[in-house]
């Protein structure tokens, strides 16, 4: 069987739409064009009903007790901003301290940085070498000024899953609001806002085979009732928390994606995990000096494989496997010319951070694709090592760390 190229293995960046999601969305572009806020005609009622149905689908996936707790947004970046700035604004009189982690997404970190400039204090927890923080660390960091803990369910680069349930127990006991950026983990690992005592949760449709440009913020309505200062003012949509005409087709697609995930995620996760393990085993069996970044199962997303190929720079590897879409923690792939801040926070050597490749698989990847990619990566890694002076030194038994390299 021939493998179709190019192969997509960058599902942590975004996922292809499930065709069933597209089918659900299509009627809402032309045949059902209503604005969900139009109360005076059937087009509006139809759109509103579709949105409310989607709200139920989203709520059910994350275990929310009511669909009224779902606020639709443009995506997870907006949800993170709304959650963090919204809590900071509303509970200002209660305190000014926020707890997060060094490996959070930039939508969280940059939001926290902005708040720091306006008088808030932020604690950035240090994760362990696998990228995890513990409930004890959170407990120790809470002060009487703490108003919010914001931690991700699963990391986008290394796939490490935090012990959200244990952390939720601590925040609930201490009466601190708990926001969870659940974008990468929902529909891939267990996530239940009731069981895990999460008060706010960000999710995004396009990471789970839904459309881009739509997401949600779960906002707990009772015990505790979480209040937010709105970011966007306007027509008072979404109970005044997020004004702006609802993107009905996208929301319908989001709802459908959540419904599919609810019904199928366990089975999908099992299959995706098997594919990832097939790739991991192949690479580790055929290459020396490869290092897994992040955590071991079960504290790792089923589809995430982040590997450093020693002596080979990440971007050169990306070019070498150009028919395969993956990403790298190499500086050369970032605008900042700094290697991955996530890997550096874990204490990964800078050289290894430059050499890291993230494969992120989805339910649409196949065994044939995995086998093709495994073979290609091994071949190209060997080719690049054969032209790497570091590999030659390694072979000669020279310790690369013993050399005094000139910075440039």
């Amino acid at each position: 069987m021939t493998t179709n190229l190019p192969i997509y293995m960058d599902n942590a960046a975004t996922t292809p739409l499930d065709p069933r999601v597209l089918d659900a969305m299509l009627p809402y572009f032309v045949d059902k064009p209503g604005n969900a806020a139009s109360r005076s005609h059937s087009f509006g009622w139809e759109a509103e009903a579709a949105v409310e149905n989607a709200r139920k689908q989203v709520a059910r996936l994350i275990g929310a007790s009511s669909e009224k707790e779902i606020v639709f947004t443009s995506g997870a970046t907006e949800s993170d901003n709304l959650a963090i700035k919204g809590v900071a604004g509303f509970y200002k009189s209660k305190g000014n301290h926020i707890i997060t982690c060094k490996t959070e997404h930039k939508a969280v970190l940059d939001t926290c940085k902005r708040l720091e400039r306006t008088g808030y204090e932020v604690t950035y927890l240090q994760p362990d070498a696998q990228g995890r923080v513990t409930a004890e660390q959170v407990r120790d960091a809470i002060t009487d000024k703490t108003i919010l803990v914001t931690l991700m369910l699963a990391n986008n680069e290394i796939g490490t899953v935090h012990p959200i349930g244990e952390i939720g127990a601590v925040t609930r006991e201490r009466g601190v609001i708990f926001h969870c950026d659940a974008v990468q983990g929902v529909g891939k690992v267990e996530f239940d806002v009731e069981a895990m005592k999460v008060d706010l949760a960000s999710i995004s449709a396009h990471k789970m085979h839904g459309p881009k440009g739509v997401g949600a913020l779960y906002v707990r309505r009772s015990r505790p009732r979480v209040r937010l200062v709105a970011e966007i003012d306007g027509g008072g949509h979404e109970r005044g928390v997020r004004s702006g005409t609802l993107n009905v087709p996208a929301i319908v697609g989001f709802g459908k994606a959540c419904e599919l995930a609810y019904d199928e995620w366990r089975e999908d996760a099992k299959r995706v995990h098997a594919l990832r393990e097939r790739l991991r085993k192949y690479l580790f069996e055929h290459l020396e000096e490869v290092h897994l970044n992040g955590a071991d199962d079960p504290n790792r997303l089923p589809g995430n494989l982040n590997i450093s190929f020693s002596f080979v720079e990440g971007e050169a590897m990306l070019m070498a496997i150009k028919d395969v879409a993956v990403s790298s923690g190499s500086a050369c792939t970032s605008a900042s010319l700094e290697p991955s801040y996530v890997l550096r926070a874990l204490g990964v050597d800078e050289e290894l951070a430059h050499s890291s490749i993230r494969f992120s698989l989805s339910k649409f990847n196949t065994e044939d694709e995995v086998d093709y990619v495994g073979k290609l990566v091994v071949e190209q890694c060997q080719r690049l090592r054969d032209m790497s002076p570091l590999y030659e030194m390694h072979k000669e038994g020279i310790d690369i760390k013993s050399i005094e390299w000139a910075a440039h």
Partner: protein
Amino acid sequence: MAYSDKVIEHYEKPRNVGTLDKEDDTVGTGLVGAPACGDVMRLQIQVDPETEVVKDAKFKTFGCGSAIASSSLVTEWVKGRTLDEVMALKNSQIVEELNLPPVKIHCSVLAEDAVKSAIADFRRKQAERRGDKAGSE
């Protein structure tokens, strides 16, 4: 990163990958960059001590596509030239030839450094061979 065809060509078919005997006193070795910065280039030249013409050049590079392409290009350029000609090489010529984007200019700087460092190594060895303690560095 959108690369020029020339970068891709050199990256896919790099010229003169390999190793010369670094103990040979007609071989100059330049090792520049740092693993932590994501690029290390090793450029070696074999020079005729009488005519100072570069007879052979080899490289190995740990780095991105344009670092590999820059070093490959430089090995082609130096071969058959005298050391004085090679010393006149400027990184801007590499940038121009490979059409490197601004964020990749440091790759060409590194290649220029590697060449100069290889020449310095060759001259130091030659000076030592002649027992000339005031040899050039």
